[in-house]
């Protein structure tokens, strides 16, 4: 089939508004990265601000906070990735064993819910429920004789709560892909195994788990691209000065340094390093996903 000049013009016309918006709001900011090499002054703009070369990058490596935030970011996100893989898989396997249809439906409706609420709302709810001054969870713990715990004020607990509440919000939604994979397993395999006398546990180990393994590999490789995203929305809505030492991540650091303290050059330099490493991570994760799980975005 041949494309006519009119059709081609029509296609370009359809794409033009979106492309223009991408140029202004995605590509221009990439050019704006030059701020990282300037003593940026908003009144002078991108071109006339004083150039300082790699001064900001050099200074960055001298700040003790930088290393700490990078370490926090990687530690928190790796723990979230691990928990975010294990819990949904386990939950999908358990849900797959349940046979009552209305029960399964109800469970799914309930566990997907937190995914759709913002961290502002969930932060508000969690801070109340887990509060040390009369919070419902601490009241429940006291029935078992456990002293109230300062979940969001104790550095050790706070880290754990970041992982736990992130899993709480997302595990339900994450089970969807595994449940889809489970329905794709050929039922004849289970029947054959049952006839051969395989127990439920053996069927799980030898049929179910190998059956969903490709999806597990895919989700693990794709999650690699998020190692530098430890969850800005969550941490920004939950953290406080008491726990900032172990919960300050790259994104919160950039926000405070850039938009609160107006250290534009320094904050952009951190952002640039993050974007560069993030780029390498995403490209690697897509390549691994393509190689080991035959995944393409197109």
């Amino acid at each position: 089939m041949k494309i006519t000049g009119k059709d081609r013009a029509f296609f370009h016309l359809l794409l033009a508004p979106g492309m223009l918006l991408l140029i202004v709001f995605a590509y221009l900011p990439m050019v704006g990265i030059v701020i990282a090499f300037q003593e940026f002054n908003p009144t002078k703009g991108f071109i006339y601000s004083e150039w300082v070369g790699l001064e900001h990058v050099r200074f960055l490596f001298e700040l003790p906070d930088t290393l700490q935030t990078v370490r926090n970011t990687v530690e928190i996100s790796l723990m979230k990735i691990a928990a975010g893989l294990i819990v949904p898989i386990a939950f999908a396997l358990l849900l797959n064993e349940a046979r009552i249809v209305w029960f399964k439906r109800t469970v799914q409706s309930l566990v997907y819910l937190p995914h759709f609420l913002s961290w502002v709302i969930l932060g508000g709810i969690l801070v109340d429920v887990l509060s040390i001054n009369g919070g419902a969870f601490n009241q429940a713990l006291s029935w078992f004789g456990i002293q109230p715990i300062f979940f969001f004020g104790d550095e050790g607990w706070f880290r754990f709560m970041l992982i736990a509440t992130d899993v709480w919000k997302e595990f339900g939604f994450s089970t969807i892909v595994y449940l889809a994979a489970l329905t794709g397993i050929n039922p004849a395999l289970y029947e054959a195994a049952s006839i051969d006398g395989a127990s439920r546990w053996q069927r799980t180990i030898y049929i179910t788990i190998p059956g969903i393994l490709p999806v597990v590999v895919l989700m693990s490789t794709l999650s690699l691209g998020n190692v530098l995203n430890a969850g800005f929305d969550q941490i920004f809505n939950l953290y406080n000065p008491m726990v900032i030492g172990t919960s300050d991540i790259i994104d919160t650091y950039i926000y405070r340094m850039g938009l609160i303290q107006a250290q534009y050059g320094l904050a952009t330099a951190i952002g640039l390093l993050k974007s560069l490493i993030g780029f390498a991570l995403i490209v690697t994760s897509y390549r691994l996903a393509y190689r080991y799980a035959n995944y393409r975005i197109f």
């Binding site: 089939m1 900011p29 937190p114 508000g124 419902a136 339900g172």
Partner: protein, 291 residues
């Protein structure tokens, strides 16, 4: 055999109990806050409300719904959802249709695709993005909340993948009949893609409702905050304003008022939730279908 059957049943019972407990864990915190919002101010502030309201009253809702600040924020959120949802919807269809064509048919396709995908891989970061909005004088306007995310790249890719697996014969038959590309798009592809269009539009509407950070940085005037940003600011200040109990801020940040505002801000999501649930599973499965 008998013993084995018995063990299986024990596992089933345990499994149902675990599943029920985990599900309740997702609901109970939200439920608890809803019950606090429906209780009298006394019981709420004494932390004695559990899973049923004590001294049931709707007066907290009456109080919050009389606040101008709350309605300003609600109006801003409604406006960004309507405008942002519309812009996202139009741009998704407009970009996905031509990009769903074969490269042999539409040669520039690859260039556009790469331009699109690259924005997912690399970004200028927070500060340059802020400076661009500032330079364009979009601060304190609704466009600052709508335009930066106007092209929902992920949704466009979902749509492209869906349109590509529609039968090619449809388009060929139309071309033989002399239909224009405009007619093929609006009369064949858009109607056939309606389930995916509904899904991705619902996604972007929910995204717009839930967005709060852009409001925080792009809006200097607090009366232009969208609801989630407003709620974020109220929540962030709740520990700081115990000093003056008669101030406006103190009346916004007592436990009853906070719980009520949390529930009101989640209400639209809870209302569309049944539709979301019906659509999103299809959406995820459809997006993953590739040839």
């Amino acid at each position: 055999m008998r013993i084995r059957l018995h063990r299986l049943q024990a596992f089933d019972i345990l499994n149902y109990v675990v599943l029920a407990a985990v599900s309740l864990l997702c609901l109970v915190p939200i439920w608890h806050i809803a019950m606090v919002s429906l209780s009298g101010e006394g019981p709420a502030n004494q932390y004695i409300v559990g899973l049923v309201p004590i001294e049931f009253s709707l007066s907290n809702y009456a109080t919050v719904l009389r606040l101008d600040k709350f309605w300003d924020a609600f109006g801003m959120s409604a406006a960004r959802v309507a405008l942002g949802g519309l812009v996202n919807f139009l741009l998704t269809v407009m970009m996905a249709y031509p990009l769903s064509k074969e490269t042999s048919y539409f040669k520039s396709r690859n260039v556009y695709i790469w331009a699109l995908v690259f924005t997912m891989l690399f970004s200028g970061g927070l500060i340059p993005a802020y400076m661009i909005i500032n330079e364009l004088h979009l601060i304190d306007t609704i466009w600052a909340l709508v335009l930066p995310g106007a092209v929902p790249v992920f949704n466009v890719i979902l749509m492209i993948n869906f349109m590509r697996q529609l039968p090619k014969e449809l388009e060929e038959a139309c071309l033989v009949d002399g239909a224009s590309q405009w007619a093929i798009m609006t009369r064949i592809y858009v109607p056939l893609s309606l389930p995916v269009i509904a899904t991705v539009t619902l996604f972007s509407v929910v995204g717009h409702w839930n967005a709060w950070f852009d409001g925080l940085i792009y809006m200097n005037q607090t009366e232009k905050y969208p609801l989630q940003t407003y709620l974020h600011v109220v929540l962030a200040s709740r520990n700081l304003v115990n000093a003056d109990e008669n101030s406006v801020m103190a009346s916004l940040t007592d436990r009853s008022a906070i719980s009520t505002q949390i529930i009101l801000a989640s209400l639209p999501i809870l209302v569309v939730y049944p539709f979301l649930q019906r659509f999103f599973i299809h959406g995820i499965v459809m997006g993953s279908v590739k040839e």
